[in-house]
Amino acid sequence: MSNYKEMPIAKALNAGLSQAMSANDKVLMFGEDVAELGGVFRVTEGLLDEFGEKRIFNTPIAESGIVGTAIGLAMRGYRPVVEIQFDGFVFPAFNQITTQLARLTYRSEGFLEMPVVIRIPYGGGIGAVEHHSESPEAYFAHTPGLRIVTPSNPNDAYWMMQQAIECPDPVIMLEPKRRYWQKGPVNLDTPPLPLHSARLMREGTQVTLIAYGPMVTAALQAAEIGAEEGVSIEVIDIRSLSPIDYPTIIASVKKTSRAVIVHEAPTNVSISSEIAARISNEAFYNLEAPVIRVGGFDTPYPPAKLEEIYLPDADRILEAVDRSLAY
C-alpha cells in the first residue's frame, strides 16, 4: 500500500524540492525572495530552516544574473533550481536561457551538462496587474536544448519537481499559479509517470480534449458537463510541452476522431499550433473534423477585470466541442 497525503500544489512543489535537496546536497535553490519569505507564493517556505543559507538564498533582483550564475554553478557541478518570481519577469533572462543554457551541452560537444531547473509561476486568473499573468511557453518550446514541463495537480507537482531536478538537461518548470492552492492526493512512494509522458485523465469516445497546466481543471469540468449532456469527452493532460508525448495524443485522436486543444496562451504560433500540425500528419485519415483550438486571443494579456472573459473556461471549451461534433 502506498502512502498518500492530501496537499495543495504549492505544498507538493515544496515537498518535492525538499526531497530533492535532501537526496543530493548539490541541489541549490535561489531567486528573488525565496529564503526568509519562502517566495511570493510560499513555494520555498521552510526550506531555509531545513537546509540553511548555503543551499537556499536570495539574489539581487536581476533575472539574467539569476540564470547566468546558475549556469556557472552547474559548470561547477551544482544542480541549481532557480525561481523567476512571475512569468512576465523571465524576459530579462531570455538571452541567458536561449543562447547559453539551452546550447552549452551542444556547444561543448557533450563535455558540459546543464542540470538547471527554472521554476516559473505562470498563467492568469488571479486578478493581477500587468506582467503577472503571462503564458510564455511557446518562446521556450521553440528553443532546442530546453525541456518544458507543467504539472496540473499535486501528485504531478511533487514528482515532476524531483524528476526535473534529476534531469541532466535544463528544464523549465511552469507552475500553474492560479491552481497553487488546489488540493489533491500525493503518492509519496511511487512516481506516476516518466517526466515527459502525457496522462490520460478521463476516458471518452467522441472527442479528445488536450490541455496542460491550469487548463486541465477547466477541461475536466467541461468533460463532466459534457457527460451530463450526453457527450463522451476524453481528456489528456500533456504535462510536458517539450518534448510532447505525441504517441498518447495520436492514439486518443485515432480512437475519437476529433481533437480540441486548450491553453491560456495566444493561439498564434503556439503549443496548439504544433499539436494540430502533428495530428494532421499522423492521424489525417482518422479525423472527422478539423482540429479546433481554444486559447487566449492574439492580444496582450488584458487588464484583470477582463481576464474572466479572455481566459478559456468550460463553456468556451464546450462551444468548441460542439463545433467539432457538428462536422
Binding site: K54, A62, S64, N95, R107, C167
Partner: protein
C-alpha cells in the same frame, strides 16, 4: 596606471606599486623568455590564421594582434587550479593553458562550436554573445566559494576565477549584474577588461563616460588600470589580484589599456572609422617589441630571438597543413548533444535525415 615596462623597454617600478614589482623580481630568466616566446608564437599564429581566412580555409578570424601582452601576461598569472572564462579573442590566454590552437581554428572554420574540454583545460568555451560568459564566471566563483575552496591557505586547494571581456562588452547589462552578484557574494573573481579602444567601429569614448577601471566601484568592486601592452604589468597585477581573490578578499577589476592593431574580425574594415596615424601611434607601443628591447638589455642574445622566429615559421607551416587536412564533421553532429538525455523528436529527425540522405545517394 600601472606600467612597469615603458614603450622604450625601460623597466621601473612606480612609487606605491612596489608589491607588483616584487612579483616580477621573483621571475627567473626562463619564465621571462617563455613570456616572449608565447607572445611571438601567438602573433605568428594570428597572422597565419588571417591568411588562412583570406584563402577561404576559415569562415572568420578574430585577430588579437597588439593584445599579446595583456593575454600572455595575465594568462601566466592564472594559477594551476584557477578557471578562465574568455570572450572570443583570447587566443593568447588559451595558449598559456594548453588549449590546442587547432581547436580554435576548427571552431572558426565551422567544424564545431567549441570542442575543447573546459574542465580539463580550465579555459572555458568562447562566448560569442557579449558578456554572457561573465555571469557564468561569477556563478562558477560562487560555486568555488560554496565548495570551501577559498581562503583555506592551502595552495593545492584554493582557486579563483578570471573573466575576460572587451571594452565593448562592458555596455551589456550582464556585466553590471556580474559585478553586483560577485560583490554581494564576495566571490573569488577577477574581471579582466581588455580595453582595445574599439568596439567594432565605436570608439571607447562613445561606450563609456567614466574610465572602465572605475566601473565596479558603485557595485563595491575595486579596480585599477594597467598598461595592457606591458606584459610584466599584466602579469604582476593579475597575479596579485588572483592571489587575493583566492585568499578570500573578494572580487577585483582590472582594465588593461591596449589597442586592437588589426580589424575587429576579417569581415571588418577599420579604414572606414579610424585614422592610420592612430594605429601607427599604437604600433610604437607594441608589447612584443618593447619586451624584446627589455630582454636584450638583460643580456638575451640573437640566438634566442632567431630560435623564436624559426619556431614561429614552423608553427605556421604546421597549422597550415593541419587546417588543409581538417575533415568535415559527420552528419550526426547536427543532432548529437542537443540533449544529454534521450529525446524522441531529435531521434526521429536524425533517423529521417539518415534515411533521406541514404535514398538521395552520394552528393559528390
Amino acid at each position: 596606471m600601472l606600467q612597469l615596462l615603458a614603450p622604450d623597454g625601460t623597466y621601473g617600478v612606480p612609487k606605491g606599486y612596489e608589491k607588483y614589482g616584487k612579483l616580477i623580481e621573483d621571475l627567473d630568466e626562463d619564465t621571462l623568455k617563455t613570456f616572449y616566446r608565447d607572445m611571438a608564437r601567438i602573433r605568428r599564429f594570428d597572422i597565419e590564421a588571417i591568411a588562412l581566412q583570406r584563402q577561404g580555409q576559415l569562415g572568420l578570424w578574430v585577430p588579437a594582434i597588439g593584445q599579446e601582452g595583456a593575454q600572455i601576461g595575465s594568462g601566466y598569472a592564472v594559477g594551476k587550479n584557477d578557471h578562465m572564462f574568455p570572450s572570443y579573442r583570447e587566443h593568447g590566454v588559451a595558449l598559456t593553458h594548453g588549449v590546442e590552437l587547432m581547436s580554435i581554428l576548427k571552431m572558426m572554420r565551422g567544424v564545431n562550436h567549441g570542442g575543447w574540454n573546459p574542465e580539463e583545460t580550465r579555459f572555458h568555451l568562447y562566448a560569442i554573445v557579449l558578456a554572457t560568459q561573465v555571469l557564468h564566471a561569477v556563478g562558477y566563483a560562487m560555486g568555488v566559494k560554496l565548495d570551501g575552496k577559498v581562503g583555506t591557505g592551502n595552495p593545492e586547494e584554493d582557486l579563483a576565477v578570471i573573466s575576460y571581456m572587451g571594452d565593448g562588452a562592458t555596455a551589456e547589462g550582464d556585466v553590471s549584474e556580474s559585478l553586483l552578484f560577485a560583490a554581494v557574494n564576495e566571490s573569488p573573481i577577477v574581471f579582466f577588461i581588455q580595453n582595445n579602444q574599439w568596439a567594432i567601429s565605436a570608439h571607447i569614448d562613445s561606450q563609456t563616460k567614466a574610465p572602465l577601471y572605475t566601473r565596479g566601484e558603485g557595485f563595491g568592486v575595486p579596480g585599477m588600470r594597467i598598461d595592457g601592452n606591458d606584459v610584466l604589468a599584466c602579469y604582476a597585477a593579475t597575479k596579485l589580484h588572483m592571489d587575493q581573490a583566492r585568499a578570500g578578499q573578494g572580487p577585483f577589476l582590472l582594465e588593461a589599456l591596449t589597442y586592437r592593431i588589426g580589424a575587429h574580425t576579417t569581415s571588418d574594415d577599420p579604414s572606414k572609422y579610424r585614422e592610420d596615424a592612430e594605429v601607427e601611434q599604437w604600433k610604437a607601443k607594441d608589447p612584443i617589441v618593447r619586451f624584446e628591447t627589455f630582454l636584450r638589455r638583460q643580456g638575451v642574445g640573437d640566438d634566442f630571438f632567431d630560435e623564436v622566429t624559426a619556431a614561429g615559421d614552423q608553427l605556421a607551416k604546421e597549422i597550415r597543413e593541419q587546417t588543409f587536412a581538417l575533415q568535415n564533421p559527420p552528419m550526426e553532429n547536427i543532432f548529437n548533444h542537443v540533449y544529454s538525455d534521450q529525446h524522441p523528436e531529435i531521434d526521429k529527425q536524425r533517423a529521417w535525415l539518415e534515411a533521406y540522405e541514404a535514398q538521395m545517394g552520394d552528393h559528390e
